[in-house]
């Protein structure tokens, strides 16, 4: 997270840490319901040949390749309340396109439910689309300025950017921003997600119900925190049916 601030422990209880079995974290995720973690598809896809954009099942992480840790605040140090959970199943979005990052979503089914408490709680799914200018919070244990990794969970507070604006910003780079994506950040750059934050939550609070819901999942961007280079996230609202169909989760 570029130009972020430390998150206050327990304010993002749905944040999940995807880590290799050796404990090395590699992506973020969000707890949905009690058995599912939503993350980015590209977190679960490790192509042996980076140049080969096609999706081979052999490139996918299997359930026994990684684990999920809930209740985390510190990146490396263990937390008193952390819960290590094994994976039962991995489901990528059927239309995920590794080369364009379209539909960059993946669902991880947990073998057992975590114990919910003030540090482990699911986030809600959106009931309606998000509008330009809405302030969202993005959090993760990803790289900061000068490639340094944080000690603890970091977060930024940024506005959602107009779709056309974002599309135009990336047009010169020949990068397509599609309808299943949503952008956020400042025009002048600065606050942004970065490597290692992928899969983590972009969330905001519903003013009526006072509940936090997931707007997006950290997906891609050009460099980190650069001017006119907004962060691009997988947009949850248009994919809500798929998420509910696979996971059965309801608010």
């Amino acid at each position: 997270i570029f130009n972020g601030r430390p998150a206050q422990k327990g304010t993002t209880p749905w944040i999940a840490m995807l880590s290799h079995l050796n404990g090395q974290p590699f992506c973020g995720g969000s707890l949905l319901g009690t058995n599912w973690v939503l993350t980015a598809a590209h977190c679960l896809h490790h192509p042996l040949d980076p140049e080969d954009p096609t999706l081979h099942s052999s490139d996918l992480l299997g359930p026994s390749d990684f684990k999920i840790v809930m209740g985390k605040h510190w990146r490396r140090r263990s937390d008193e309340d952390e819960q290590h959970l094994s994976v039962r199943r991995v489901v990528l979005h059927p239309s995920y396109n590794p080369s364009t990052f379209e539909n960059d979503l993946g669902l991880v089914e947990l073998s057992e439910s975590p114990r919910l408490n003030e540090f482990v709680m699911p986030i809600c799914l959106p009931e309606h689309p998000s509008t330009e200018g809405t302030m969202v919070i993005v959090s993760g244990w990803g790289k900061q300025f000068l490639q340094r990794l944080p000690e603890n969970l970091m977060e930024i507070e940024i506005p959602i950017v107009n779709y056309d604006t974002c599309q135009e910003a990336y047009a010169p780079l020949k990068k397509k921003v599609t309808k299943d994506m949503i952008c956020a950040g400042e025009k002048e750059g600065g606050k942004d997600a970065c490597a290692g934050d992928s899969g983590g939550p972009m969330m905001t609070k519903d003013q009526e119900t006072n509940q936090w819901y997931l707007v997006g999942v950290v997906s891609w961007g050009e460099d980190c925190g650069k001017k006119d280079r907004y962060g691009v996230y997988s947009y949850i609202y248009p994919n809500k049916d798929w998420i509910q169909r696979v996971s059965g989760v309801r608010n």
Partner: protein, 429 residues
Amino acid sequence: HTVELNEMFGQIQSPGYPDSYPSDSEVTWNITVPEGFRIKLYFMHFNLESSYLCEYDYVKVETEDQVLATFCGRETTDTEQTPGQEVVLSPGSFMSVTFRSDFSNEERFTGFDAHYMAVDVDECKEREDEELSCDHYCHNYIGGYYCSCRFGYILHTDNRTCRVECSGNLFTQRTGTITSPDYPNPYPKSSECSYTIDLEEGFMVSLQFEDIFDIEDHPEVTCPYDYIKIKAGPKVWGPFCGETSPEPISTQSHSVQILFRSDNSGENRGWRLSYRAAGNECPKLQPPLFGKIEPSQAVYSFKDQALISCDTGYKVLKDSEIMDTFQIECLKDGTWSNKIPTCKIVDCGVPAGLKHGLVTFSTRNNLTTYKSEIRYSCQQPYYKMLHNVTGIYTCSAHGAWTNEVLKRSLPTCLPVCGLPKFSRKQISR
């Protein structure tokens, strides 16, 4: 001189016709046609000597046993008859025509020229007497006729009366009504009806005749034509006939035969009886506490059944088994097949656990019997009840914890989403 004629038609003439006939002559023509026909005779020409009552010359037409006509003369007068245009019909299939002239004729008479023909007898129209007519339908045809019967009837061997197949009627109900066929219309002729009331041993059948009782009888002889008879074991009642109903009959038996016979004549409306079977009576019943007995009867007798059921919220307890109802039966010897069971209050038992939830009892001593109440709740603040149902369950009469909305299904605790305990400062605008 006799001439036998067997053709279906023919001609006969006086001797020497058309010349005058001789005196002192007699000729007889015996005309025989097949059964089912009669003979029609008519004269084309008739000219005989006239005499008082035709004592001289005459033509006499007769059958075996009656004279049909005697003609003579030229014209009909009050003492002699000429055939003229008249046709003579024989009642049966035989006719004899005799021409007789006496020994003297004052003048010459040309005699007669007659023709005869066989004419079909329409038995259906002509046979009025009961003995001979058809019972139901008569069908005439040239030379004969036959009878047929309405649907459901069978033509008897006399080819005239219509009987019914009414043997082998079996009654196994404890009450019933039996009538003669077609009752209250006249019963069929030539029929042998048998009715059997066959009940389980232990029942005793009693019979009672009702309404019309009309069986053909005879003033002197006891029921020589039609009769009804009742048998039970070695005992026999009847035969009965006439118009006076027999007295009620208590057969003291569980198996009774009723025989009804009709001959081939008579138009009588028959009979109707009702029967009832009763067995030994069983002791009176008292319903159990919180229960009832159906049907509720002042008296129960053999084979009667009683169904014991309990008030809402209670179940029948019989030999430590719980059931909705229990049936007992009055046995042949007047005892009940079982004792009356008791009614036990329904117990819903320990309520099932709820995932991510807990259950609390509304009563201090954690009652689980009918109408007791419990409340499910979810582990707050991390779980909440789906659909915000009350979580209140009552022990129903069916022995299940029941919620107004969810009925018997347990509530679902869903994880609360998006409400962290540690809230962050407001998001900036």
